[in-house]
Symmetry: C2
Subunit: 642 residues, 2 copies
């Protein structure tokens, strides 16, 4: 682990995205998603599953008040994942155990949005919810509405399933973002108090537990970086090094060993100590959140063994468990990573949050060791799965991101129940939409990182950036012509390291450069302009033939954008379409047209093999990220090659 | 409906199968399956799930005795599908609700076997179990051990889920077979008493219910045909015509309407009155048992509307819901027919019992209207799915019959949990092995049918047959050379109608004939020999391109036999193998060898499309029915065509 490679991403207040493609999405989040999301958390969206999030905070605040005033406080069960029994007491906690995290994710998105575009009214609303959150905190710093409302005596007794440390993690992410955005420390101080309680509770001399759903690890590192408090880093380190030790903490906690225990351990990435892991397994979101935390701790602790595990896990994901769209977690079965090369198209889970977590992991790896492979995957996930998850009007969302959809199958086949043919307004388990909001509104933090000598450009978006060594104005026509220009105002000499995307075979840079690990390093000593031309071509991309689904098929990509075919353009029975390996493509921004063939439908269920009959046709490809915006219809990423 | 088309299959005591291929299977059933099965029902098979079947009958017999002697009898819940809670009272019923049916299916198989090959010891054992069964019958004729043991007050209160009428159906099938085999009427009389109770309980002036799992319909017709008692036929007719009427009997019975009611109605084929149905839906075994009963009742009642529904449902199965192997019920989701053309290979359910039920349905349709399409499907199911379900040594069984298997996926992917890569010794829900036993040991009844003027030959097996009009010795080399000879001793002039298999493009018959509906009709007036030569070729068979799974692939067949490739012969990663559409095949009985290609494995998950690299190889195909006899390994029916 070479700390001279370390870099830090540019904080959001030092980068202003101004990009034809991305600004629209960022504005969509500000104008549509953030207000909509708050309405959802307040249960004001008609016909959408109720969140109960704000309601729970109000109940918890009342409980805290009652406790303080010496009133007797009732107790309710804390034995479930979801509390929606209409017969249960109205005063008890409602919704999923992790419902608190939704307001935290909303606050985090709001914080970034306030940096991007200040909005006094939104700021005031945020302050109100921060007041509400803080009023729900117990005197000892504890803050989780499920346990505060339902049963104070059971706090931290079911780390495996009850998500207190998960909600804490999101609280900390929000508090840091809000503090960075506004300088206001009320939420941050509340978070420190909760973090202190956690540090006092867990450790070598305390409970030897760790989170069932990871995120606290990376959140604690954020608190450490902001506060300099070593105990936060040490607690993150403890959670990671304790995980996977036998006897299994989750067994002790629940009082028995499960017969199918081993699967259970894998689900939580607790089958082995993280530093010994080399394969991405279990619940995919938990996985990438853990791996992000591992990367953070390895960097702060200079832990080569832990970083080496991160690299092995990364390589396993990238080489065997990654959809072409940047999706991960192939199986609905535990929302999990499946076995190597098991990447079904129509049964795909590929949760939006998992791709977002993969982007977190990628950024951390990049900032430890600049290697374009990390940014390539980040770009793949961002331009495809993440964008696909939100409707073009920002009003509906995909939780699951299939690569092939037959609406009839989604309706009638319970094995595809998780796959939706159109985006949903909201979800009872609404992790994905707020996660998209917080990622897109903080996008600037993923584009550029810097250290003493270098400025690294990982993603190419039009932006104005204030780095330590220079101010840079980036003009990007990356997606369209592949041209990106840098107007550099130099404060002191540095090296501009620009990523050469994996999809790009030829490029030219207007300055001298040296290539290392997928980055072109350009020495810059004075104000200058750097122009880069990435040759952007339409390509047919083949999937490894160890992925059984895609034999005889290929996908169409242009730059980082994965394309797909839809029934709305190409008629039903997409499986009848094919293109030749030498097909000529025409780019009609943002679509692609190719001459192809349609096999004549053959109703005869079984017949002696004969050459199929085809008719010529034009096949229209649209960016995968825009599918499903025209009502229910068939979709496929892979097309037959004939 | 033209009753001059009606024919009746030759009863087992008038046909003696003597066939190189089939006699082995029949002997296997006699020597292995029947004894093994009894051991299983007595819970004497080590490491196999416990059946509890015999145990339940003993408990019920004790209950009946206690009731008769005025002892107080305990009550246990009857609220589940399966009763295996180790904490429950040992005197209560154990196992699945339909467990009684296993001994009935065993007795039915034993009955046929005794006709094929008399065995005094087996006969005596059967008598002992008949005594046990009869001793478990209540005075009013009721006979179902779950309710007798657990709660007499709840009899016939949950027709939807508790399978009393299903067990009755199997009892009746066994009783008729045993009476036909031995002339002993003890079990038959017990069955009549139960049937009388059912006829008294259900009907226009009684409960307007019908079976949740069909079979009673066809069983009651068997009782009617044997006894001449019209009420049995009328009860079968009532069950069929009442089904699907609104308000839904199963709703009334459970006291509320389910919100997802419509799916529930489909599961039981109760969404519409059967005479109005035109699509095979719901639980596949239930479906084909119902359709068989519908065919029986339509014939006996001369009900054109009902027969027309049978024909539409048949055509729907044959043209859209049938695997090349004769499997039906594509989805594990309710063990059910899926939507049209949804025939996944690796997720296939294709339950053994469903193919057996399809054979029942086919025979009934054939005997109403001789059309080779029915016999073609019967043959397809018999030679492929049914045979595949039993190991070559008769000691293990498939419940589910996939067309593609990757053992890793069966272990790790819960969506494929139902698919096993090797046959199992027994099943907790052990419907399939005894069903195979009763089908294979009564195989003679499926080959030939006759009416006043015709003898129809549906399946080609070596046999000696005593018909009304002639005695025929059939010598068959059907599977190997395609040659079949008939040595006819004529009692009076008749027409021999021999099926021309759908797989056969050319054939010659040594006598003059006329073809109608897939049968060649040969007039015979005196003793003679008829020789038929069916040209049997190896063929590549293509699946409709509306089946998404099989685009670019084909299956290899030779005559009625579907072939597959296995890892044991061809190495792992079967998806890398391909053959040309003009591949030359070599038949090495019973295997097939073809020159083919193996695509070089490409570990690169995503790369620009280029022509794949291949190496030549020999590809070995084995009959699908024999797959999985060499341990866990990959298997595929469809192979890439390049």
């Amino acid at each position: 682990m070479d700390s001279s490679n370390f870099s830090n991403h540019i904080k959001l207040n030092n980068i202003k995205i101004d990009d034809e493609f991305w600004s629209r999405y960022i504005e969509l989040v500000r104008n549509e998603v953030i207000p909509y999301q708050l309405k959802a958390l307040k249960d004001e969206v008609k016909d959408a599953p109720r969140s109960r999030c704000i309601d729970n905070f109000k109940k918890a605040a009342k409980t805290v008040k009652d406790i303080k005033s010496g009133k007797s406080v009732p107790t309710f069960p804390v034995d479930k994942w979801e509390y929606n029994d209409e017969n249960s007491c109205p005063e008890s906690f409602k919704g999923w155990v992790f419902q608190d995290s939704d307001i935290y994710k909303w606050l985090e998105a709001v914080s970034y949005s306030l940096v991007n575009t200040y909005d006094a009214k939104l700021h005031k609303t945020a302050q109100e919810y921060i007041d509400l959150i803080c009023s729900a905190q117990l005197d000892n710093g504890y803050l989780d509405t499920l346990y505060i409302i339902n049963d104070r005596s059971k706090i931290f007794t079911n780390l495996k399933d009850r998500h207190e440390l998960y909600c804490f993690g999101h609280l900390a992410e929000a508090a840091v973002a809000y503090y960075n955005a506004t300088g206001e420390d009320k939420l941050l101080n509340a978070t420190y108090r909760f973090a202190d309680l956690i540090c006092d509770t867990f450790g070598e001399s305390g409970k030897k537990g760790y989170p069932g759903h990871e995120i606290a690890e990376m959140a604690l590192v954020k608190l450490y970086r902001l506060s300099g408090e070593e105990k936060y880093l040490n607690c993150a380190d403890f959670f990671i090094s304790e995980r996977g030790k036998k006897p299994y903490y989750f067994d002790a906690e629940r009082g028995y060993e499960r017969k199918d225990g081993s699967l259970d351990y894998f689900y939580n990435q607790a089958h082995l100590q993280p530093k010994k892991q080399d394969e991405a397994v279990g619940h995919a979101v938990r996985g990438v959140y853990l791996y992000s935390g591992m990367a953070d701790v390895s960097r702060e602790k200079n832990d080569d063994e832990l970083f080496s595990a991160c690299q092995k896990i990364w390589d396993n994901i990238q080489s065997r468990k990654l959809y072409i769209t940047g999706g991960i977690g192939a199986t609905a079965d535990g929302e999990a990573f499946s076995f190597d090369y098991d990447l079904p198209n129509d049964l795909a889970y590929s949760e939006t949050c998992a791709s977002i977590g993969l982007i977190f992991f990628a950024r951390r790896m990049l900032e430890i060791k600049p290697d374009s492979k990390y940014a390539d995957v980040m770009e793949r996930a961002l331009y495809n799965t993440v964008l696909s998850a939100m409707a073009q009007d920002g009003k509906s969302f995909f939780y699951v991101n299939p690569l092939e959809v037959l609406p009839t199958a989604c309706r009638l086949d319970s094995r595809k129940r998780h796959v939706k043919a159109v985006r949903q307004k909201w979800f009872g388990c609404a992790c994905c939409p707020p996660n998209i909001a917080r990622l897109l509104s903080s996008l600037g933090e993923y584009c550029i990182s810097e250290n003493e000598n270098n400025i690294f450009v990982h993603l190419y978006m039009g932006a104005e950036v204030n780095c330590e060594n220079a101010d840079i104005k980036i003009t990007s026509d990356y997606l369209d012509s592949g041209k990106v220009s840098f107007d550099v105002k130099c404060r002191k000499p540095f090296t501009l390291a620009v990523r050469i995307p994996e999809w790009c075979d030829n490029f030219s840079i207007s300055k001298e450069y040296e290539v290392k690990d997928g980055y072109a390093y350009i020495k810059i000593a004075k104000d200058t302009a750097v122009d880069i031309q990435f040759d952007i071509k339409i390509k047919l991309i083949k999937c490894s033939n160890l992925v059984r689904e895609n034999i005889g098929k290929a996908a169409v990509m242009r730059g980082p954008v994965v394309y797909c075919i839809e029934e709305a353009d190409n008629g039903s029975n997409l499986q009848l379409l094919s293109i030749s390996p030498n097909a000529e493509f025409e780019y009609k921004k943002p679509c692609i047209i190719a001459k192809g063939k349609r096999e004549k439908a053959n109703n005869n269920l079984y017949s002696e093999y004969k050459k199929a009959e085809y008719e010529d046709c034009n096949i229209k490809f649209i960016p995968y990220s825009t599918w499903g915006n025209r009502g229910e219809n068939e979709m496929a990423v892979y097309i037959n090659i004939k």
